[in-house]
């Protein structure tokens, strides 16, 4: 803005018949100032774009707003939920089919308040319920980045939402009950790193969009990342608040950082939707932010003393032992070569199953899915050539999967409930 004042003063000089020299010198000076200001604001803008690109990664906007093999940010991805199928919109700056006509305020309204440019209430399949915690400055940077992208002309199909969830008034009721608008407020008693971590986890990182139990209306039951079956995906997102699930209170900070940014550590590996989150988003965390997020996550279970429910009583019964022996045979034939007779695996290559909290978690869903579908950890800079686990769906019958899963849940130091063929059957499907 300052350069306007300079230009005005130049005109004043001319009017007051000052010497031509002064006029020329001032003009040159003014022009220089203008150029410098423009350059400064361009640099500022390119900084914002740069930072916005980083933040968009952490928010994983591209993950949802891109179809498989499609144009980045052009939308069209189907998100199946129990309320219907949502199709993500095009958020490239195309004027007709994207958000090319939007301004910063429109964008803020969407991210912070969950309202589209035309005032329409947005569905929480767009996690604005978490993004509302993002600071205005960060939202503006993301917007600057999105507007710097090449516009892609792509019209996407509309959502297919089941009755009665397709009613805007129901959505308004839902919002009144479950949506709390507001930017993240730092906790004064905590360190700057902790607050940065909390800001990232609760806001852009939208961890609780998955790591929480959703009620029948699709709302996160509470704000405590307590774990739950993800809507529309047959996966269980474990609680970040329990060391029996995904809590990491007794982990070294470095190990948490490694899990988040490389997808694998000696005692855990990310799979399924979490592997995707790591590949698309968390692996790009700056060192500082990764450390901050780890600090926050660690603090969530530092004082957690919950212990394993008393399933170990069962170990004494004969039929239980026989059951496990059958499972052990299958393990020796199909699993041992990689995971080891002692269940310790090979660090960084094959995950340990002994002492693996994912294996003994109350919900056996993810373990069963691992055995049925196999998988590779995500390729990341820190683990660019991962090793894989074969799918056993085609090789083992449901009963055999149940036996071997029951075995690994109770071998070595592990203790957890047995799994039935019925559980295996229920764990199938739900992948797209």
């Amino acid at each position: 803005m300052r350069y306007w004042i300079m230009v005005l003063s130049v005109i004043d000089y001319r009017k007051s018949i000052a010497s031509l020299w002064i006029y020329i010198i001032s003009l040159t000076f003014a022009l220089l100032t203008i150029t410098a200001e423009i350059m400064a604001s361009e640099a500022e803008n390119s900084n914002a774009v740069h930072y916005g690109a980083y933040l968009a990664r952490i928010g994983n906007c591209m993950g949802c707003h891109t179809t498989k093999g499609g144009q980045p940010f052009a939308g069209g991805r189907r998100l199946s939920t129990s309320f219907g199928v949502f199709i993500t919109p095009n958020i490239t700056p195309d004027k007709e089919t994207g958000i090319g006509l939007w301004n910063q305020q429109d964008f803020w309204q969407a991210l912070h308040q969950g309202r589209s440019r035309d005032g329409r209430l947005l569905y929480p399949a767009f996690p604005y319920t978490e993004y509302t915690k993002v600071a205005r400055q960060d939202a503006d940077a993301i917007f600057a980045y999105l507007q710097s992208l090449p516009p892609v002309s792509q019209t996407n199909p509309s959502h297919d939402i089941f009755f009665p969830y397709n009613s805007e008034s129901l959505l308004a009721v839902w919002r009144a009950l479950y949506f709390k608008e507001g930017v993240y407020e730092p906790e004064r008693s905590k360190s700057a790193a902790w607050n940065r971590g909390a800001y990232l986890a609760q806001g852009l990182g939208h961890c609780s969009a998955c790591h929480t139990t959703r009620n029948a209306l699709g709302a996160s039951q509470n704000e405590t990342l307590t774990g739950g079956q993800i809507m529309g995906m047959n996966w269980y997102a474990p609680s970040l608040f329990s060391h029996l699930e995904a809590g990491s209170g007794n982990w070294e900070i470095d190990e948490i950082v490694a899990l988040l940014t490389t997808g694998i550590t000696k005692r855990a590996v990310t799979s399924g939707p979490m592997a995707t989150v790591v590949r698309q988003s968390l692996q790009y965390l700056s060192q500082e932010d990764a450390l901050a997020l780890a600090t926050y996550l660690k603090s969530l279970t530092e004082n957690d003393t919950s212990s394993v429910p008393g399933v170990h009583f069962l170990v004494t019964t004969g039929s239980f032992r026989k059951h496990l022996e059958l499972g052990e045979k299958i393990y020796q034939e199909y699993c041992q070569a990689c995971h080891g007779a002692d269940g310790k695996g090979t660090p960084g290559t094959y995950p340990a199953l002994d002492g693996n909290r994912g294996v003994v978690m109350d919900s056996p869903l993810n373990v069963i899915r691992s055995v049925l579908n196999g998988g590779y950890p995500p390729t990341t800079a820190g683990n660019s050539r991962p090793y894989g686990m074969p799918p056993f769906q085609q090789i083992l019958r449901n009963e055999e999967v149940a036996l071997v899963v029951s075995y690994i849940r109770n071998a070595w130091g592990n203790r957890a409930s047995l799994v039935r063929a019925l559980d295996v059957d229920r764990s199938k499907g739900g992948d797209d």
Binding site: K68, G69, Y350, Y376, P378, S384, M389, P391, Q394
Partner: protein, 222 residues
């Protein structure tokens, strides 16, 4: 590296693709009717293209989609390179009974084509000895009848399989009748395998043009 049992875990591609070789195995574990296609020794660019197709939703087979979902292009390229350079013995050909007129038709289709129906000879693209052409056209021998029928059928029905819509191969497959597909699949499955993929320069420029979308954007097989 060695794990706790003292098993050496080799830092090799062999070890890294164990999740694949359970189906695409060295031995012919699963019998001749198996639907699992051979991938060893196929042109690298072709394998890379298929891996990307599966990962990016242009070819559909759920068990593989899950495995490839979070893999980078670089890693897929390395995996393609690995399987492409793998030399494995081929299984014996199938022994499917065919009538003399079926054999005649198959040979005509494969070595002469039907220019009037815009069907070039299969061998013009897949190589004289049908072992494929580097870097992105696969061989047609060493595959099972069930697999060949399913692939040609997939293109003919225009499902999402390899849905590069204007791809040269899908256009040719759409021209074939169901009985031609069956006959050609039987004949191909009966052939023994020998030799290697031909080099790119055997392709006429017309055919290169026709397949440019598939074989020139060849997945970085330099």
């Amino acid at each position: 590296m060695a794990n706790a049992n003292g098993n050496a875990v080799l830092d090799s591609m062999d070890e890294r693709v164990k999740a694949c070789t359970i189906c695409h195995s060295a031995e012919d574990k699963v019998g001749r009717d198996a639907y699992y296609p051979r991938i060893a020794g196929k042109p690298q660019g072709y394998i890379f293209n298929q891996l990307r197709n599966f990962r990016d939703g242009r070819r559909y087979y759920q068990p593989m989609v899950i495995l490839l979902e979070n893999m980078s292009d670089e890693y897929l390229r390395e995996i393609a390179q690995y399987f492409s350079s793998l030399q494995l013995p081929y299984p014996d050909p199938e022994r499917i009974k065919m009538q003399p007129e079926e054999i005649k038709l198959a040979r005509h289709l494969i070595y002469s084509g039907y220019p009037k129906r815009n069907i070039p000879a299969c061998s013009a693209c897949h190589g004289d000895i049908l072992m494929g052409v580097e870097p992105a056209i696969p061989g047609l021998v060493g595959l099972s009848r069930a697999y060949i029928t399913a692939q040609l059928g997939g293109w003919r029905n225009g499902g999402i399989m390899r849905a590069q819509t204007s791809d040269c191969m899908s256009e040719i497959a759409k021209q074939l009748t169901e009985s031609e597909v069956n006959i050609v699949a039987k004949w191909l499955a009966n052939q023994p395998v020998y030799g290697k993929p031909s080099s790119f320069d055997v392709l006429s420029s017309e055919l290169v043009d026709r397949c440019s979308r598939t074989i020139l954007e060849n997945g970085g097989a330099e």
